[in-house]
């Protein structure tokens, strides 16, 4: 925990140099930064997301440790920086710097009307399976993904189970028919 606190101070210093004095939102690489229980969270726009991940690799956050989606349908308690427009879906990427042990989280808002975002599997090959899982569970399309096939769900499954409007236990289990029977 002490490492993440110290790196947060660095972030603040970085932010002050290129900050608009009228803007109260802390920034890193021009992206709004918040603090969640002592953990640093970046909130880029969907357009700047891919470049930001690339920039963070050069800064040392070279391991994409986790990537998952979240559906905030009906969640009124979410706190986002002023400049960020809340959307239904969020993509959450946890990055790790293994040289100076520290973590950083990136949260991107994804609109329900167009749930797509560039893939980062060209930067972090390890994100490939995680993006496939997010596509299965939330229906978020990753543009440029090398293998956009289902990973946990069977081929041809309809619906995205982790969406809040995908009710539990109300649909019959879908099975593929066995040919010749």
């Amino acid at each position: 925990m002490s490492e993440s606190t110290s790196s947060l101070d660095e972030t603040t210093e970085l932010a002050e140099s290129d900050e608009d004095p009228r803007d109260t939102v802390k920034k890193l690489h021009g992206v709004a930064v918040t603090d969640s229980k002592g953990q640093i969270v970046l909130h880029p726009a969907a357009e700047g997301y891919h470049d930001l991940i690339q920039l963070l690799v050069e800064e040392g956050y070279a391991v994409c440790v986790d990537l998952c989606g979240a559906d905030h349908l009906g969640n009124a308690t979410r706190v986002l920086p002023a400049a960020i427009e809340p959307e239904r879906f969020e993509l959450v990427v946890n990055l790790l710097d293994v040289r100076t042990p520290r973590r950083l989280r990136v949260r991107v808002q994804i609109a329900e009307s167009d749930p797509s975002i560039p893939t980062i599997s060209d930067i972090h090959p390890g994100a490939e399976a995680m993006e496939r899982e997010t596509n299965d569970m939330f229906g978020v399309c990753f543009e440029g993904h090398p293998d956009p096939t289902p990973i946990l769900l069977p081929d041809g499954w309809e619906g995205h189970p982790l969406r809040k409007d995908f009710a539990m236990g109300t649909i019959p289990v879908q099975f593929k028919a066995v040919e010749g029977r």
């Binding site: 969640s36 440790v65 986790d66 946890n94 399976a129």
Partner: protein, 418 residues
């Protein structure tokens, strides 16, 4: 510079849907020397239900792809319907070989949201139980790894030793597996009478048994032939693919969350991080064998340093009133009832916690909307990320070695598929 450049063979992954692979496997083209075969999901060496689609040329594996999802039961969805106190019963079923670690990372996440401090004893009990669990998990690995490579006797020995630890778990938690022992706010029960003798007994038996394993496997020429230089992976590849735990350490990179980002009381105990040199199957085997010895060192120190005090938080928000109070106070009874029916509410927010499980970084991303149930609960399963190294390890190797490589990743399909 991207991580992609670190991969030696970018084409090692067979990118093909399950349906397409099935169709391709059915067609035999006499001019094409390559062949697609499916291994699993019911192959005995696939540790449950892992299916690997492989492209072979003769006996050489060219491209491959782990096909998963056969054990997917929507546990992350289920978690959204369980209160924070019920949560551990769900997550404990993910990594069934090391259930206490998933309970731990989930509980740490809930506690971070609630911002509650734990008594020292509960922290030390958690640490000791987790290290015992690491030992039992690695013993299970030694058993299955031996079995996969033909040392069938090892299967029985590994399970015998593991049973010693599971017997202790049963005494403490009531169950051999899926304990629901580590809960938000502490642990479910204090250590039972005579726990010190039980642990001393385990610590006495194990060292000589581990030496027997060394005789049976480590120094044995056949074992070395089958594991050394097989399934090699480099540090850069492991990091690029998000692989952690023994796979990353086998490449010589001493990354262990217990040391790098200490949680519980790992900064107060003395232990070494075991690393390999070549990143091959033998290194991954040797790391796990020696990590059992390091875990025993930690457990020994826990025996000495175990503090007295409460085994769970005194915070009445998460901990029900003591049994004696319930008998005499109506309010205490209502309080108890409320905690177990409605559950306690966690303030809105989101947090990511990570612990070092026997397989690598086990994380929990938890979002609360202020209610008694999580808005979103995601488990970062180490086996899920580690499985992505499989095509890179198997590329160019022999089909017979594929078994050794799969086994050395030590995937637990319950946590891969969740």
């Amino acid at each position: 510079m991207t991580n992609l450049g670190h991969l030696r063979n970018r084409d090692a992954v067979l990118r093909m849907s399950e349906t397409e692979a099935e169709e391709r496997a059915a067609v035999v083209d006499p001019d094409d020397e390559r062949m697609i075969i499916n291994m699993g999901p019911q192959h005995p060496s696939t540790h449950g239900v892992l299916r690997v689609t492989m492209e072979l040329q003769g006996e050489t594996v060219l491209r491959s792809k782990p096909v998963i999802g056969y054990l997917h039961t929507g546990m992350e969805k289920t978690a959204e319907d369980l209160t924070f106190l019920q949560g551990p019963t769900n997550v404990t079923r993910m990594d069934y070989a090391a259930p206490l670690f998933t309970e731990l990372t989930f509980s740490l996440a809930v506690e971070a949201l609630l911002e509650i401090e734990l008594p020292d004893r509960s922290t030390w009990i958690r640490m000791m139980m987790c290290e015992l669990n690491r030992m039992s998990s690695h013993l299970l690995f030694l058993a299955t790894n031996g079995m996969d490579l033909g040392a069938v006797g090892m299967m029985i020995y590994g399970w015998r030793e593991r049973e010693e630890i599971l017997r202790f778990f049963e005494k403490v938690t009531g169950l051999r597996m899926n304990h629901n022992y580590i809960r938000p706010g502490g642990v479910a029960a204090d250590l039972p009478d005579g726990w010190r003798e039980d642990i001393q007994n385990i610590l006495e038996i194990l060292p000589q048994r581990l030496e027997q394993f060394d005789v049976l496997m480590t120094g044995q020429p056949i074992w070395r032939e089958r594991t050394q230089g097989i399934g090699v992976i480099t540090t850069d590849e492991a990091l690029a693919l998000g692989a952690t735990g023994p796979i990353l350490r086998s490449t010589g990179y001493a990354w262990d969350l217990r040391r790098a980002m200490p949680y519980l009381a790992y900064d107060q105990v003395d232990f070494d991080i075991v690393v390999g040199t070549y990143g091959d199957t033998f290194d991954r085997y040797a790391i796990r064998l020696n990590e059992i010895r390091e875990s025993m060192r930690i457990v020994e120190q826990c025996l000495e340093l175990m503090p007295e005090g409460a085994y769970r938080s005194e915070d009445r928000k998460v901990t029900p009133p003591p049994r004696a109070r319930i008998n005499e106070s109506m309010e205490a009874l209502i309080h108890h009832f409320k905690i177990f029916t409605e559950g306690f509410k966690a303030p809105p927010g989101e947090v990511y916690t990570a612990v070092e499980s026997p397989r690598g970084e086990l994380g929990c991303y938890l979002v609360s909307d202020g209610g008694a149930k999580p808005q979103r609960m995601h488990i970062r399963a180490p086996s899920f990320a580690n499985l992505q190294t499989l095509p890179h390890m198997m590329h160019g190797g022999l089909l017979a070695d594929a078994i050794a490589v799969i086994s050395s990743i030590d995937p637990i399909m319950g946590e891969v598929d969740r």
